[in-house]
């Protein structure tokens, strides 16, 4: 929790860097590696300056192979280190999938608790940055479906720092998805002290009475823009930021829907088999009789994210969120 408040204006890149700095300083077992994370500080500069400060043994560039980056982290972690590894973009993490699902996620289970894999697998995700193919997708649901890992997605610099500190100190493997679209777009005061935010607890950003909106990552800011439109229309929105999609905070979602009777979930990922579908079912199980309207979702399509000239078709606008909010309230 937040201690002596020495506050500083940070964006998410600064906040993550600060979390690494604190953990590298506090625990000699923490090592950071991946493609271009050492000398250059990563393509988004999230690890900038850390190699200079902590040396090439602790912050280093690895050869270009995602499976090997995660696979070697499994070995390091079983032997006692706490590796923080970077997948340069989530769209390039698939070669590592086998190491994540077959080993990082199940080493403790397979060894009946003898070995654990305290690994943080970082991956920038999501669209809206006019990028090349494979650089814009939001495939968090595939990790949420995977027994044995936690999946964390921050929406602000403050949360990014506190959640990253929790992730590094967790003895479970954490998939840490970073909404690259808001890496630098949001600035806020963040404590320079060490603080942590528990993984698995959602954050009620603003309370309201007419409808619950659940989002995470870069979609939180889009919902906040939609809330301006909702306010003009006289609709009171309760905004929940999930912070992690697994564990998912059923209680906070259920309590909110019991109060509002309506819910819209906003995700940037393909529509089918996603986090929004899961939340709809949680609401069905926990608050079915409180519902005044069918649970709704605003998501991407079951398509490939188009290249930049077509990406606006896919991306979720505040208007589209408001459209769904209003429809659900008027149902």
């Amino acid at each position: 929790m937040e201690g002596d408040k020495k506050m500083k204006i940070m964006n998410m890149v600064n906040a993550l860097n600060d979390a690494f700095d604190i953990e590298l300083k506090d625990d000699k077992n923490v090592v950071i590696y991946g493609e271009d994370v050492g000398v250059e500080g990563g393509v988004f500069r999230v690890t900038e300056g850390l190699q200079k400060k902590y040396g090439k043994e602790r912050v280093f560039d690895s050869p270009l192979a995602e499976s090997a980056i995660v696979g070697t982290a499994v070995g390091m972690a079983a032997a006692g280190l706490r590796p923080v590894v970077e997948m340069q973009f989530s769209g390039f993490a698939y070669p590592a999938f086998n190491q994540i699902i077959s080993h990082a996620a199940r080493m403790r289970n397979r060894s009946r608790g003898r070995y654990q894999t305290p690994i943080v697998i970082r991956m920038p995700y999501g669209g809206g940055i006019n990028a090349l193919e494979h650089h814009s997708e939001s495939m968090e649901a595939i990790y949420g479906h995977m027994p044995g890992v936690k999946v964390v997605i921050p929406s602000t610099p403050h949360d990014a720092k506190g959640l990253m500190i929790s992730a590094i100190e967790s003895n479970d493997t954490v998939i840490f998805m970073e909404p690259k679209r808001i890496y630098r777009a949001i600035k806020q005061e963040v404590s320079e002290d060490k603080f942590s935010i528990p993984i698995g607890k959602a954050n009620v950003i603003s309370s309201g009475t007419d409808i619950t909106v659940v989002a995470y990552g870069s979609m939180v800011r889009e919902v906040q823009k939609a809330m301006v439109l909702a306010k003009e229309a006289g609709i009171s929105v309760e905004l929940i930021d999930l912070r992690s999609i697994y564990p998912i905070d059923r209680d906070t979602i259920a309590a909110s829907v019991k109060k509002t009777g309506r819910i819209v979930t906003v995700t940037e990922s393909p529509k089918s088999f996603g986090v929004a579908s899961e939340i709809t079912q949680i609401v069905n199980e926990e608050a079915f009789l409180n519902l005044e309207a069918p649970p709704a979702r605003v998501t991407g399509f079951d398509t490939i994210v188009p290249l930049p000239k077509g990406e606006h078709h896919y991306l979720i606008s505040p208007e589209k969120i408001f459209y769904e909010i209003e429809k659900t309230v008027k149902y």
């Binding site: 192979a65 090997a68 696979g71 032997a79 077959s102 289970n109 397979r110 070995y115 698995g200 564990p247």
Partner: protein, 362 residues
């Protein structure tokens, strides 16, 4: 050693011939008579257990099992050199190395009877559980190697894979990372000529596996894996070099899987009797036994007596495993996370409610 047995020239390192006669005195390891007899006994124990397990499986008392039959010298040599503090990163066909680490047969039985508890390895230090996704464990070995170097520990990692595994990307990525990091890992490939039914020639166009080390800037050697002394000398040599910080090494151990891939496999579909008989002449136990008998360190009678003792011991541990307590529901849930997430608690609770309901219907 690496220059003398250059894999580019497809040379194979061996010390005894098929009759157990030393043909390469220069590299004969300095082992006492007792050490050699112990090595033979360990291999004999592993073989006895292995053959017993196949018969248990035929009786329906154990599930699918991958036999070691014919490959015992490789794990035997590694087991004789590996210390408690060294790491073993196994695949699933090196029983002798598991046993040398302190894994019990009972644990091996439990695993193949369907208990994760068989991977607990209570009495064994620094050994990862069996890895089924082929070659994926090679990367873990490279990562452990990094930890050893990072913390300046006096340890070596021994990692196993089969010839089929050398086609996997993880095999190559592991050699590459370990080479770049210069970590103390001994990568051992048991080239038993088949990946299930697929012969070595269909696996790679390389003339051997050891040659693949060249591309990664590390040393590699092709060894007669059915020659205990050659395996011992090679592993001893690379272990010494790895401890001196000379990096990772690749050992190709040429052998033959005399049994099936697993108890579900039928080798008559893809290989000939003649081929099997040719390899029978190179059996690792036959060769070491011939050496021992020539030196008057062993008799057939002694072996018969020992095998019947071993069989009793194998049966005893098997029966212990058969009487293992039932698998509780908790065990399916409790090891996924350090603290069980609420969702899992709820799923377990709901299933327990169903079980209670089921009870009331009886």
């Amino acid at each position: 050693m690496f220059k003398e047995y250059d894999p580019i020239e497809d040379k194979m390192f061996n010390i005894i011939d098929d009759k157990g006669v030393v043909v390469n005195k220069k590299w004969m390891p300095k082992l006492s008579d007792e050490q050699i007899v112990k090595a033979y006994k360990d291999m004999l124990f592993a073989r006895t257990a292995d053959l017993q397990i196949v018969s248990y499986q035929r009786q329906g008392r154990i599930y699918t099992y991958p036999p070691n039959y014919g490959q015992e010298a490789i794990a035997g040599a590694v087991g004789a050199i590996m210390r408690d503090e060294d790491w073993l990163v196994p695949a699933f066909r090196e029983m002798g190395a598991y046993l040398a680490k302190g894994v019990t047969l009972k644990e091996i039985f439990l695993y193949f009877m369907g208990y994760e508890d068989g991977s607990l390895f209570k009495g064994a230090k620094n050994i990862l559980p069996m890895s089924v996704p082929i070659a994926s464990q090679y990367l873990h070995a490279a990562g452990i190697g990094y930890e050893i170097k990072y913390n300046k520990k006096d340890q070596v990692v021994y990692a196993f894979v089969g010839d089929g595994g050398t086609s996997e990307g993880d095999f190559h990525e592991a050699l590459n990372f370990a080479g770049v990091w210069n970590v103390p890992v001994v990568f051992i490939v048991q080239n038993n000529q088949y990946g299930i039914s697929t012969p070595f020639k269909v696996q790679t166009a390389s003339k051997n596996i050891a040659i693949k080390s060249v591309a990664y800037g590390i040393e590699g050697i092709k060894v007669d894996g059915n020659d205990y002394f050659a395996m011992y000398a090679a592993v001893e040599n690379v272990t010494k070099l790895a401890k001196e910080g000379k990096g990772p090494f690749l050992i190709e151990a040429v052998t033959y899987r005399k049994g099936a891939h697993t108890t579900s496999d039928d080798p008559t579909k893809y290989r000939t009797k003649e081929e099997e008989e040719d390899w029978d002449k190179k059996d690792p136990l036959d060769r070491l036994r011939a050496f021992l008998i020539a030196k008057k360190l062993w008799t057939v009678k002694e072996e018969e007596k020992l095998v019947s003792q071993y069989k009793k011991e194998v049966d005893r541990q098997f029966e212990e495993a058969e009487n293992y307590p039932a698998y509780p529901l908790d065990d399916a849930f409790q090891f996924l996370y350090e603290e069980m997430p609420d969702d899992l608690k709820k799923q377990k609770f709901e299933h327990e409610k169903f079980l209670q309901w089921k009870e009331t219907r009886k």
